[in-house]
Symmetry: C2
DNA sequence: ACGGTTTTCGCCCCATAGTCGTAAACCTTA
DNA sequence: TAAGGTTTACGACTATGGGGCGAAAACCGT
């Protein structure tokens, strides 16, 4: 599943199935695994038919579903992946493919609704303790723009003051020194920031039971 | 993979392969998926041959590995699971099966070393922000005993004072009102505690960007 | 009664997050 | 140029929660 913040909402890329089962209903993009292919290679290959995969700033494995009831006829295992597209990209998508707000999903095929919601929760959790925001944000942005991105992805308002202070202290963000020109309505120009790194790092050391020494940063 | 704290160390259950490939080397217990079977049903079935699965206090899916190089001859996908056994259980295991400290693993077959280490990291992370300790601990225990369990699983010393204060505040632990008789060397008898619930709950709301309102507890 | 041992608990410090108010920097319009 | 509106930046204060430490409590043995 591919997520992007579009028009102030967290949206997911869906395509309309042409064939049975679940003809005409919406589904997450994907497809079969070819022999000798890695799961990640496979999902990238299938996504490439729907969206420019170079826009994919992050891709990680979610869960493997194996319930026999999840598919009507033959038994199929499915390994779900979560992909993220920065909000400044507007990839061309085929005619049978559309973005839909995760908060207002149409009826989905198979167990895809459950997968989509699980992906949203994974994103929300990681926004709080990793630097995964780099995969949702443009290369440079003001704190207000980042606040709106986080708000859309998390589903609730966040404070720009806190966001800036926390992400700077964790060294997730760094200042570019440049300013963004104010909009037509005026206002003080916002300072432009960028994510210090575009590789996933855990930035919040879970409280209790912290090992002695400086905070580690490890990839998850 | 099955983990248990034994003799003050975090140990993993391994069995010695009798057949090629990797004959005589150690491997994580597991086996093939049967048609119509859930992955979780399958891993429970295979584990049942090695250990009393009723002792399994927790079982969760880890990651699905698909690299073609992970198996020598035919291509095999593997979905790893993490199982936990409380420290007061001492399940009978077959002759070809042994517990090994995760910090001193023998050479393992396939990519099982990588899986074992990933499982240990998952456990360590969840110890800090969930109540997953219930799956490592006996039904009742003193804070000192729990401190030793956490220390073994985390790989570093933890403070009994902090552990008690934090887990009580998060309402992970509750007092039983009873005391444990002191050992032969004397000392003040320790108060007995238990985990309030034996279902996995996230107890630490990741800091920043917390939604308004009281802390939620949700299953992951 | 008196050390030795283990557990318990209160106290203080510090790091980090949340809130709020004010100042700064820009726009448009008069 | 001045004034009012808008947006961002930033400091001050508060609240929460974890870490460290030492004293007191409760048991053992001699």
């Amino acid at each position: 599943m591919v997520l992007q913040v579009r028009a102030g909402e967290l949206q997911v890329l869906l395509w309309q199935r042409a064939q049975e089962p679940f003809a005409d209903s919406w589904a997450l993009p994907g497809g079969y695994l070819e022999p000798g292919e890695t799961l990640e290679q496979s999902i990238r290959r299938h996504l490439a038919e729907k969206v420019d995969v170079r826009e994919l700033a992050h891709l990680e494995q979610l869960e493997t579903r194996s319930e026999p009831e999840r598919t009507p006829d033959e038994w199929q295992l499915a390994t779900a992946y979560l992909g993220l597209v920065p909000s400044d990209a507007d990839p061309r998508v085929p005619d049978d493919t559309e973005w839909h707000p995760v908060d207002a999903l149409p009826p989905l095929a198979f167990d895809h609704e459950s997968i989509a919601l699980a992906g949203r929760e994974r994103l929300r959790a990681k926004l709080s303790y990793t630097n995964i925001g780099f995969a949702l944000a443009p290369g440079e942005f003001t704190i207000s723009e980042l606040r709106d991105l986080y708000g859309a992805a998390l589903g609730h308002d966040v404070s720009a003051t806190n966001l800036q202070r926390v992400l700077l202290r964790r060294r997730v963000l760094e200042s570019t020194g440049r300013l963004r020109a104010p909009g037509p309505t005026g206002g003080r120009p916002g300072a432009l920031f960028r994510f210090r790194t575009h590789a996933l790092e855990v930035t919040d050391q879970f409280a209790v039971l912290r090992p002695p020494g400086p905070a580690r940063a490890f990839v998850a």
